[in-house]
């Protein structure tokens, strides 16, 4: 009899724990990283009564997290790939926008220069038209310099973003190390919220850096990047990361360079690879324009207004060491533009202007094929192809990541209907156990208070 009361008590306790767990699940339905929890029950071992073995009620063995490692690793791998592709494609898209083609880019300025040559060819002695040629050089220089400068600023902004991402990642690594200790100290029953928090940190580390993780038997997690263990709790102290402009992401202390994935890897790929490639093409284009224009100018004769004085072999009109300082040479004005054939001091001779005008569609002298406009286009279209490819990859990776995230939320998240059912189930169970207790109580009451009074 008394055993029944004990059993009912365990049932009430289990019901309470079940209600509490379901309530906690409902409360955390929207908490990021929360894993739904379930009460694990087991029946107590029976005792040997005179008539046979009778169960002794129910035990709450544990409150377990419904987490699947496979879903986690898929979400993290796709998260790292999506972080990489999104960061890179975002920066490439900005690079392309800063180039401003086709409506507000270098091509329009370059065509403006060619137009100025053609207009001067109609009236080569006209000083206003010669000044117009110089002004068109200045406009082209301004456009190319502005592209070069804004690209550098973009790279600087990328590096700053990488620095702050690494500072944050270092904090996350430290926090993972700390949680590892807590979890290991708790032994076989670690706190579910600590595990959830650690998983959330590992998610963020994956999308930022593309780290890999390995769970050890004591519940601790090792975090590695590119084969280097960053977190190896109770074996080594946490190794932090920083950004070096030449070596990329390095491990503090040893200075070992590591290849990062995720957002940091994407920015690094842009800063260290994509941008320098296209920037080198822009530098080359600027130097080509400088060489073509200066070669042609040196091959003609330039007149002062009215033809009062002549210079055989015009001075260099453009000066540049790279795209960043491409522009007019010092002290150049319209009278420095060589219009006549070399040595032919005829004011209306446009021989050399026609050589300038031929730059529009002919190979520049001394540089060979192709013409300047083709060189510009191959740079622009090359960047366009790289960007288009990066954007397409980013779309694919983001879609995969969204899928993996949704799959994980479907597996780990809280389904409110399920929890409602479980609440009702536990509530009913509690009521039923209470009813059982009442039944035993009434039986005992009869036994204790009515025994021997029968028939009195």
């Amino acid at each position: 009899m008394f055993q029944g009361l004990q059993s009912a008590l365990t049932g009430i306790r289990a019901g309470q724990v079940g209600l509490d767990t379901a309530t906690n699940n409902v409360a955390n339905a929207s908490t990021p990283g929360y894993t739904r929890q379930r009460v694990d029950l087991a029946s107590r071992s029976p005792w040997q009564s005179v008539s046979g073995k009778i169960g002794q009620g129910v035990d709450v063995t544990s409150i377990s997290r419904m987490r699947e490692g496979f879903l986690d690793s898929r979400a993290r791998v796709t998260g790292a790939a999506a972080g990489f592709a999104t960061a890179r494609s975002g920066l490439l898209t900005q690079t392309e926008a800063l180039l401003g083609e086709p409506d507000a880019g270098i091509q329009q300025s370059m065509l403006g220069m060619f137009d100025a040559f053609d207009e001067l060819a109609l009236d080569p002695s006209n000083i206003a038209l010669r000044d117009n040629v110089v002004a068109s050089f200045d406009a082209l220089g301004g456009r190319i310099r502005s592209v070069a400068t804004t690209w550098s600023q973009l790279a600087d902004a990328g590096r700053t973003r990488m620095d702050s991402a690494l500072v944050e990642a270092n904090q996350l690594l430290g926090r993972v190390d700390e949680l590892n200790r807590h979890i290991a100290a708790a032994g076989s029953s670690p706190s579910n919220s600590a595990l959830d928090e650690r998983d959330l940190l590992l998610d963020r580390l994956s999308s930022a850096l593309g780290v890999t993780t390995q769970v050890r038997s004591n519940g601790m997690v090792d975090v590695s990047l590119d084969g280097e263990r960053l977190v190896e709790t109770s074996v080594n102290p946490v190794r932090t990361l920083s950004y070096d402009t030449t070596a990329g992401v390095i491990i503090d202390g040893t200075g070992t360079p590591v290849s990062a994935g995720g957002e940091v890897g994407g920015i690094h790929a842009f800063v260290a690879d994509d941008l320098p490639t296209v920037r080198a093409q822009l530098d080359e284009l600027a130097l080509n324009i400088r060489d073509a224009v200066n070669t042609i100018n040196a091959g003609g004769s330039a007149a002062e207004p009215g033809g009062t004085a002549w210079t055989d072999g015009g001075p260099p009109l453009l000066a540049a060491t790279s795209a960043a300082d491409f522009g007019l040479a010092a002290g150049v004005d319209g009278s420095d533009v060589a219009t006549a054939a070399l040595g032919n001091h005829a004011l209306h001779d446009a021989t050399n202007v026609l050589r300038f005008a031929a730059l529009r569609d002919q190979n520049p002298p001394g540089l060979g094929a192709p013409p300047l406009d083709d060189r510009l286009r191959s740079m622009v279209v090359g960047l366009g192809n790289t960007t288009a490819d990066a954007v397409a990859r980013s779309d694919t990776q983001t879609a995969l990541f969204t899928n993996a995230t949704a799959a994980r939320q479907a597996g780990h998240g809280v389904n409110l209907d399920e929890e409602m059912v479980s609440l009702v189930q536990h509530q009913r169970a509690l009521e039923a156990v209470s009813r059982a207790m009442t039944a035993i109580d009434e039986a005992l009451n009869t036994l204790i208070n009515r025994t021997g009074l029968v028939g009195r």
């Binding site: 339905a29 929207s30 490439l92 898209t93 392309e96 926008a97 180039l99 083609e101 086709p102 091509q107 065509l111 060619f114 137009d115 053609d118 207009e119 060819a121 109609l122 009236d123 002695s125 006209n126 033809g307 006549a340 032919n344 005829a346 004011l347 209306h348 001779d349 446009a350 026609l354 005008a357 529009r360 569609d361 406009d373 286009r377 622009v380 279209v381 960047l383 366009g384 192809n385 960007t387 288009a388 954007v391 879609a399 969204t402 995230t405 949704a406 799959a407 939320q409 479907a410 597996g411 998240g413 809280v414 389904n415 409110l416 209907d417 409602m420 059912v421 009702v424």
Partner: protein, 298 residues
């Protein structure tokens, strides 16, 4: 399959974003009238668009150069026609002077001839847009001198105009070409001195020389007439080239438009269908986030 409200929310937001992006793209296309906005939208097409833009600008300049060339040639034509009509007058005066006339009448003829000579020198030194029309590429007077001593002071520079793809045309005629020639026996080698020769012959009453001068005058006129023919032929060539170049420019801009611009009817239709798709997605999401079991348990 297990579904949770978070998973439903994630997927729904993702789908809504995709639909919204589609709507944004359709509305951008319709409002800008462009199919491709940046190079990465379609690198191959944009490569072509940029090449067509460059070629179109080149054709524009060629059309301009052709207009300039036609103005130049028209001025040259008018000037040479005037010179021809003045020489006709010289011929009339020469015919009158070739018969025996009293001294005062011969004097009148000689005065008119010398004034025509002056006119002819001025015609040869005509300037067009501030530069000598018949002086090659030099800046000074094309013809200098006086009396019977005239020289060509210009140069042999060519004035070139590109009026079409690979169509470079020389448009100038020099005073050397138009007014100088191989000297007929006993006369000067240029129009200006020849007129003075005539004036002197008539003034002195040398009728034989005056009538011989008429033959020399014919040589001079045929020289100018040849140059008029050249100018006329160049004008025809350039007018044809200008029309062709303008046609090419139009074709380039049509092709560019085909590559870059949207078909308006198609763009509107796509905008409409994207709008409908977005609204459908919105209402689908609104339905897929229903109240849960809690609302029905009492």
């Amino acid at each position: 399959m297990r579904i949770t409200s978070q998973a439903v929310a994630t997927r729904s937001v993702d789908r809504l974003n995709a639909r919204y992006a589609g709507l944004e793209r359709a509305s951008r296309d319709a409002s800008t009238g462009r199919r491709i906005h940046t190079v990465s939208d379609d690198p191959a097409a944009m490569n072509r668009v940029m090449a067509l833009t460059a070629a179109g600008r080149m054709r524009d300049q060629e059309v301009k150069a052709a207009s300039d060339a036609i103005t130049w040639l028209n001025t040259a034509d008018t000037t040479l026609q005037t010179a021809m009509s003045r020489l006709q007058r010289v011929r009339q005066l020469g015919v009158s002077g070739a018969s025996t006339l009293p001294a005062d009448q011969r004097e009148v003829l000689a005065v008119e001839l010398r004034s025509i000579q002056n006119e002819l020198v001025n015609l040869a030194n005509t300037r067009h847009n501030g530069r000598p029309l018949f002086g090659g590429t030099s800046d000074g007077a094309a013809v200098t001198g006086g009396g019977t001593a005239f020289t060509y002071s210009g140069d042999n520079g060519q004035v070139m105009r590109r009026v079409g793809p690979d169509d470079m045309v020389k448009i100038n005629v020099t005073a050397q070409d138009a007014f100088f020639f191989t000297a007929p026996p006993g006369f000067s080698d240029n129009v200006f001195a020849l007129v003075e020769d005539m004036a002197a012959a008539i003034e002195s009453g040398d009728t034989a020389r005056a009538s011989a001068g008429l033959d020399a005058l014919d040589t001079a006129m045929s020289q100018i007439s040849r140059q008029l023919t050249t100018v006329g032929a160049q004008t025809n060539h350039i007018e044809a080239a200008q029309m062709r170049t303008a046609d090419l420019a139009a074709a380039l801009s049509t092709e560019r438009s085909d590559l870059q611009d949207v078909d308006i009817a198609d763009a509107i239709l796509r905008l409409r269908s994207q709008e409908t798709a977005y609204e459908t997605a919105l209402s689908a999401v609104a339905r897929s986030l229903p109240p849960n079991l809690a609302s029905f348990l009492r």
